[in-house]
Symmetry: C2
Subunit: 156 residues, 2 copies
Amino acid sequence: MVYPHNVPEETAADVLRRHGQRVTDARVAVWETLAGTDEHLTAESVAKRVAVMDPSINLASVYRSLALFEEIGEVRQSHLGPDRTAYWEVGHPDEHFHLVCRNCGTVDHHRGTLVRQIMDHLQGKEHGFVPERVELTVTGLCPNCVGVTGSDHPHH
Amino acid sequence: MVYPHNVPEETAADVLRRHGQRVTDARVAVWETLAGTDEHLTAESVAKRVAVMDPSINLASVYRSLALFEEIGEVRQSHLGPDRTAYWEVGHPDEHFHLVCRNCGTVDHHRGTLVRQIMDHLQGKEHGFVPERVELTVTGLCPNCVGVTGSDHPHH
DNA sequence: CTCCTTGCAAACCGTTTGCAATCGA
DNA sequence: TCGATTGCAAACGGTTTGCAAGGAG
């Protein structure tokens, strides 16, 4: 079940130029890394994959590229889990949310109408609050871990 | 609109003993701080308020107390905003979510059936995923900031 | 009396930044 | 050409941890 990309045909250079940004090796490598997977990656793991294409690209440039893509709205950062690490993914056109297994750590994407419904719900009810972004993360046990684990503590 | 506490009558000592934990000054102070407000506090601000009651209590002990209360399920940690700072609050019986204003930073709690609905939605649809915790954070513009700010960038 | 908890200070770790060199347009 | 971008290394900031002293049960 591979996650289709934003605009599969569009290259990194296209994306950058569309936003009036310079096309550099670091940015291209970061974009290709993120666009080429359906996983959520930490900056570190993006850097690791980028290093395979071009070992001369520095971690700092990866961070700067990620920040750039986020600013222009092509990439999203989420804070899954209780750790303070950020996870990155290309910004999908469809709203979606995350199911995180507290046992095996697997992160599942789920698209559908739920996030839209939440937006609508707020539009009507919250006197004047203008929702822009909904971040919904559900923690629990994935099908694989339900039977295996007791109902208790994960890491002890 | 003050947020009513979990079990208003229960003292810090009660809570701790109920979980078989030792009653110490640091823990009592941290509990009273968190139970005495409807705000979300960072560890640092908890420490600041704790210091008023007892200046001898160390930041590290505040962190350890927060971790303890979280482990026993009496306190919750959320990652609001894009920074990696954690925000703490007592664990409310009613599910709720957060409305964060991207302009002024205000965090609003909202209780209601939304979170419950999400849980139910998942129970039925997600073949076997067992939801345990729903973290829903909506970023946008609060009523006060809607008119004031253009539709663009917050901090530039 | 025993083990748990604390204060302190140093370590951690993901992320950011200043700077001179380099690169893209 | 010339400002934007990079690599490098050092700084940052919230959080964690090792250890000896102090405190709860």
